[in-house]
């Protein structure tokens, strides 16, 4: 625990160093960010300790808040999220050192540094807090720090709007969270998590707590249809911040949900069913909207919603397994879902950093302005390729492993229980997988392959080693987990043992059984790489003494091929999105080229968020219309207002008289009955 406290202090120092007035900006940014990165590295140690099976003592400090207690503890569930937090923050902050320099002229970077450090600190507190008051305090600091980071480019109106939307949504969530913890605290008679865990008294408030927690944490995590802030805030924030937001902040929602579920010693099956349904909806709709985007960060934001859906599917299967007392399904679902939290945190922050690197080089987030970037930025290209393969859940990378567990949970559930809902998980996951592959072949292919579509893309350059190293590190971690999942399964076994409703002995058997299967998966992944290497060698030998020429791409006889003829992100996705036209409802403006020698044509498409841009305005219009009718009361004439006062007073009198008469009657009747009885 000491190391953890040291890490927190170092991170705090890193943030506070930005308040020192004298340092020149360049050096200050290196010192401050360096301290934050150092703190993250130190903080990894206790997290890894706990995950490898050696517990760390908890820490209690006096804290003069009613019901509050400054108690920090690292259990395996906390440690998993801390691991993710420190890896992603360390990478994102390192990446940010060169990245933010482009803003240095017109912007002070002090705020970024301060709020980055407070964001990391508050999340570290959140993941270790053992008391509801402390949890809420950390939750609020996290939400506000993230807000100030999102509105970094506050001269842009879009950014301000996105920030405001985020602020409203996160506080709506906090409101629900207050109720959740009040209910839990009253039932357990304490705000301490150790008192809540496994407490049978919680069963009375189970349903309202679960539903409210689902809303509160669902807003943060981005469950459909509560996701509306996500696709606005992620593109608005600077890339390292979006990496942190998508990699860790939205996972805080998953952490909270898992934590609250872990308190309950048992729960009904509908919790799991509800989570599975939310997961299916978020997963499929998230990836469909992603497919229709051409802003790369918006696309990635929608993919976060999709992956949160996959995580919810895993947790849902886990909960179903727990409530049906089927340890295989329970263990596989929970382990798969929580493992996907780690995996998604790694590859999504990698992809956001990649998007940042491309933005740094080209100044654009629109994929249709890029192309051929692989030749200019091979390092970024390689990292984004690794991230893209991983996010599609393809072997031999880490996404495959966690999805494999969730698939297995789903198949096992289907084998043993003949309910249609249970079976839907498998085709849903398959559909999500196919759509994700479509989406990331598009995102990677349009940006990095082919030829450059604009001058900026043709002039792109890598941003330097400080931007590349964090991405390479994250990519290496994705490979490592994908190739050697056997190391991580015992870790996941420990994480799932946190759940009060789980039976550790049974889980241990399942873990042992699955370890064998995962070692086969590991060999399989190594096998694929081996076969690829072998075939590459064969190809090399075959081509050794043969003529290998370079030429133009075959244009079917047409010789004036230009880069504008390439498939763009919109045209690539057009066929698949046209099949779900009614759902996505893209706004299309076409100006057809006419005549035999057409001079110009024009096509523009934009896919708004159906919930935010269509459904909510519709609801709002309804409320507005209703209120307009009441508006007639507001006349602006004093006579009328006096009349209202009079009417109100008379009403009050009648009501009061009525009340008095009732009371009098009661009293009278009581006396009557009393006297009768006498």
């Amino acid at each position: 625990m000491n190391l953890f406290i040291v890490a927190l202090i170092v991170i705090a120092l890193g943030g506070l160093s930005s308040l020192m007035p004298k340092l020149p900006q360049r050096r200050e940014s290196v010192i401050g960010n360096g301290l934050i990165v150092l703190g993250c590295i130190v903080g990894l140690v206790p997290a890894i300790q706990v995950l490898t099976g050696s517990p760390v003592p908890s820490l209690s400090l006096p804290w003069a808040v009613p019901g509050g207690e400054m108690k920090l503890a690292i259990d395996p569930l906390s440690a998993l999220f801390l691991l993710l937090l420190f890896i992603v923050s360390g990478s994102a902050v390192t990446f940010g050192i060169p990245y933010f320099q482009r803003y240095a002229k017109e912007h002070s970077l002090k705020s970024v540094q301060l709020f980055l450090s407070s964001l990391i600190l508050s999340m570290a507190l959140l993941f270790t807090a053992q008391n509801a008051m402390l949890f809420l305090a950390a939750w609020e600091i996290m939400a506000l720090s993230a807000f100030f980071l999102i509105i970094f480019e506050d001269h842009d109106e879009q950014v301000r709007k996105a920030g405001l939307l985020y602020l409203i949504m996160t506080h709506t969530g906090t409101l629900c969270l207050f109720v959740v913890f009040l209910l839990l605290g009253r039932a357990a008679d304490s705000f301490s998590f150790s008192q809540m865990a496994g407490n049978a008294a919680l069963l009375d408030v189970g349903a309202p707590v679960f539903l409210l927690a689902l809303i509160a944490f669902g807003i943060k995590a981005g469950f459909m249809p509560l996701h509306i802030w996500l696709q606005e805030a992620h593109p608005a924030a600077p890339s390292p911040v979006s990496a942190l937001m998508s990699g860790v902040v939205i996972k805080a929602g998953i952490y909270g949900l898992a934590r609250v579920i872990s308190f309950f010693p048992s729960f009904p099956a509908w919790w799991g069913v509800l989570l599975v349904m939310i997961g299916t909806i978020s997963g499929i709709l998230g990836v469909l909207w992603a497919l229709a985007q051409h802003d790369v960060k918006r696309l990635l934001a929608y993919h976060s919603i999709e992956n949160i859906g996959i995580i919810a599917l895993g947790l849902g299967f886990g909960c179903l397994g727990l409530s049906l007392h089927h340890p295989v399904v329970g263990m596989l679902g929970l382990a798969g879902g929580l493992w996907h939290v780690l995996n998604h945190g790694l590859f999504k922050s990698l992809l956001f950093l990649g998007a940042g690197s491309v933005f740094h080089a080209t100044g654009s987030r629109d994929m249709d302005h890029m192309g051929g970037l692989w030749k200019k930025m091979p390092g970024t290209g390689l990292c984004v390729l690794v991230g893209s393969v991983a996010i599609c859940g393809l072997p031999p990378l880490n996404g495959f492993v966690s999805e494999w567990l969730i698939y297995n949970a789903s198949f096992n559930l289907g084998l043993h229980y003949g309910s249609f809902y249970f079976l839907l998980g498998v085709p849903a996951l398959a559909l999500i997988g196919a759509l994700a592959a479509a989406c990331f072949t598009k995102a990677f292919g349009v940006q990095f392959l082919g030829s450059a579509r604009t001058e900026a893309a043709a002039q792109a350059r890598e941003g330097g080693p400080l931007m590349l190293i964090p991405m390479l590190l994250l990519a290496a971690l994705c490979f490592w987990i994908g190739l050697f999942p056997g190391y991580f399964l015992p870790v996941m076994g420990r994480v799932t043992s946190v759940f009060s409703s789980a039976t550790p002995e049974e889980f241990r058997d399942v873990t042992a059984n699955q370890a064998g299967l995962l070692s086969v998966v590991s060999w399989l992944s190594l096998g694929i790489i081996g076969v690829i290497g072998l075939l590459a060698l064969v190809r090399h030998l075959l081509l050794k003494n043969k003529p290998v020429d370079a030429s133009a791409t075959w244009g079917c006889g047409y010789t004036v091929v230009s880069s504008r003829m390439q498939y763009t992100s919109s045209s690539y996705a057009q066929f698949s999105t046209s099949l779900v036209r009614d759902l996505l409802a893209p706004e299309v403006h076409v100006e057809n080229a006419t005549g035999y020698f057409p001079s110009q044509g024009h096509f523009e498409s934009h896919t708004p968020d159906t919930v935010l841009d269509r459904f909510l305005p519709w609801i709002n219009a309804g409320i507005h219309g209703g209120l307009r009718r009441i508006q007639r009361l507001q006349q602006g004439r004093v006579q009328w207002y006096l009349a209202y006062v009079l009417i109100f007073l008379i009403g009050l009198l009648i009501w009061q008289f009525h009340g008095v008469s009732v009371a009098w009657n009661k009293l009278f009747l009581l006396e009557m009955t009393d006297s009768l009885r006498r």
């Binding site: 692989w374 390729l385 393809l394 072997p395 999805e403 698939y407 297995n408 198949f411 289907g414 084998l415 003949g418 309910s419 249609f420 079976l423 498998v426 085709p427 398959a430 559909l431 997988g433 196919a434 759509l435 592959a437 479509a438 990331f440 072949t441 598009k442 990677f444 292919g445 349009v446 392959l449 030829s451 299967l517 086969v520 998966v521 399989l524 694929i528 076969v531 690829i532 072998l534 075939l535 590459a536 190809r539 075959l542 081509l543 043969k546 290998v548 020429d549 370079a550 030429s551 133009a552 791409t553 075959w554 244009g555 091929v561 390439q566 045209s571 690539y572 066929f575 698949s576 099949l579």
Partner: protein
């Protein structure tokens, strides 16, 4: 140890026969003599001995595409039984099988986009769109087979499913075989989804994606495609008729004749039908998906 790899070896050696047999069938229907049965072997040999021409636009993704797709198909072929036994089988290998095919598709599509040609982009766009239907259908079929046999490995699913002797099973299997057949046609770009015989029409999918590949790269692609076709036909072969328990020779003969039969059926379909209009293809695939869904509902009882 070596005997474990016999099924994979048979797959790798015999795979180019399947397209040859389809072409023979089509030739017979058209009243032609047609290319020899072993034509694909000759083509592959010739291509392997050629040099290569690469577009200046391309990067090493273009060169990696054929290698990764062939490698992933070969590894996926490990799980598919030949005459009742597979080289490798473990609980959950169905997921690995489907995702390996997905990996191959991912890199084929990237290689196509790497050329910067609108033809290849078009093919890539269509390929991923049809996968949207084919993959869930394949997984629904796996769910049905898992429920029927209680197993999660491809080889035991396929070998045990026709042995379940209940009357409703026959109907269920018919649904499974029908939708798997359509998935097989779509995944292997056969008529009525795609036409493997031409590649310069604007309507093509797979052939147009590999337009710029040549030499050993094209050989890898053609070989990989034939393995994929062999593997899916083998899956169908196990479902339509149970493999006998007897000697390897006996089951090998049964398997071989079933493979030939299904291949000829594909050839007949290709001779008798025209390719569907592009906008109709999703409907066909959706129908296959719905049929599989019916099967899933039946399997719930």
């Amino acid at each position: 140890m070596l005997t474990t790899f016999i099924p994979l070896g048979v797959t790798l050696v015999a795979a180019p026969l399947v397209p040859g047999l389809i072409n023979k069938t089509k030739a017979a229907f058209a009243g032609r003599q047609g290319p020899p049965l072993f034509q694909l072997y000759f083509d592959l040999l010739k291509l392997l001995n050629k040099g290569a021409v690469y577009s200046r636009v391309t990067t090493w993704i273009f060169r990696a595409g054929p290698i990764v797709s062939l490698a992933s198909v070969i590894v996926a072929a490990l799980f598919v039984p030949v005459a009742g036994t597979a080289s490798l089988s473990f609980s959950g290998d169905i997921i690995a099988f489907a995702y390996l095919l997905g990996l191959g598709r991912f890199f084929t599509v990237l290689a196509a986009l790497d050329t910067g040609s609108s033809f290849e982009g078009m093919g890539a766009s269509r390929e991923v769109t049809f996968a949207m239907f084919a993959e869930p259908t394949l997984f629904i079929i796996f769910v049905i087979l898992a429920r029927v046999t209680g197993s999660l490995s491809l080889s035991s699913m396929l070998t045990q499913a026709p042995l379940v002797g209940t009357p409703s099973m026959a109907g269920l299997l018919a649904l499974v075989v029908f939708s798997l057949f359509i998935v097989c046609l779509a995944e292997n770009s056969r008529i009525p989804v795609d036409d493997p015989a031409t590649h310069l029409e604007l309507t093509m999918i797979h052939e147009v994606m590999v337009l710029d590949h040549g030499g050993p790269d094209l050989a890898f692609i053609l070989y990989g495609a034939s393995i994929k076709l062999f593997v899916m036909v083998a899956m169908l072969a196990h479902l339509v008729f149970p493999m006998p328990d007897g000697s390897p020779v006996q089951s090998g003969l049964v398997f071989g004749s079933l493979m030939a039969l299904i291949t000829i059926v594909i050839g007949i379909v290709e001779s008798a039908m025209a390719r569907l209009r592009m906008v109709r293809v999703p409907r066909l695939l959706m129908a296959a998906c719905m049929i599989a869904c019916f099967g899933m509902i039946i399997s719930l009882r």
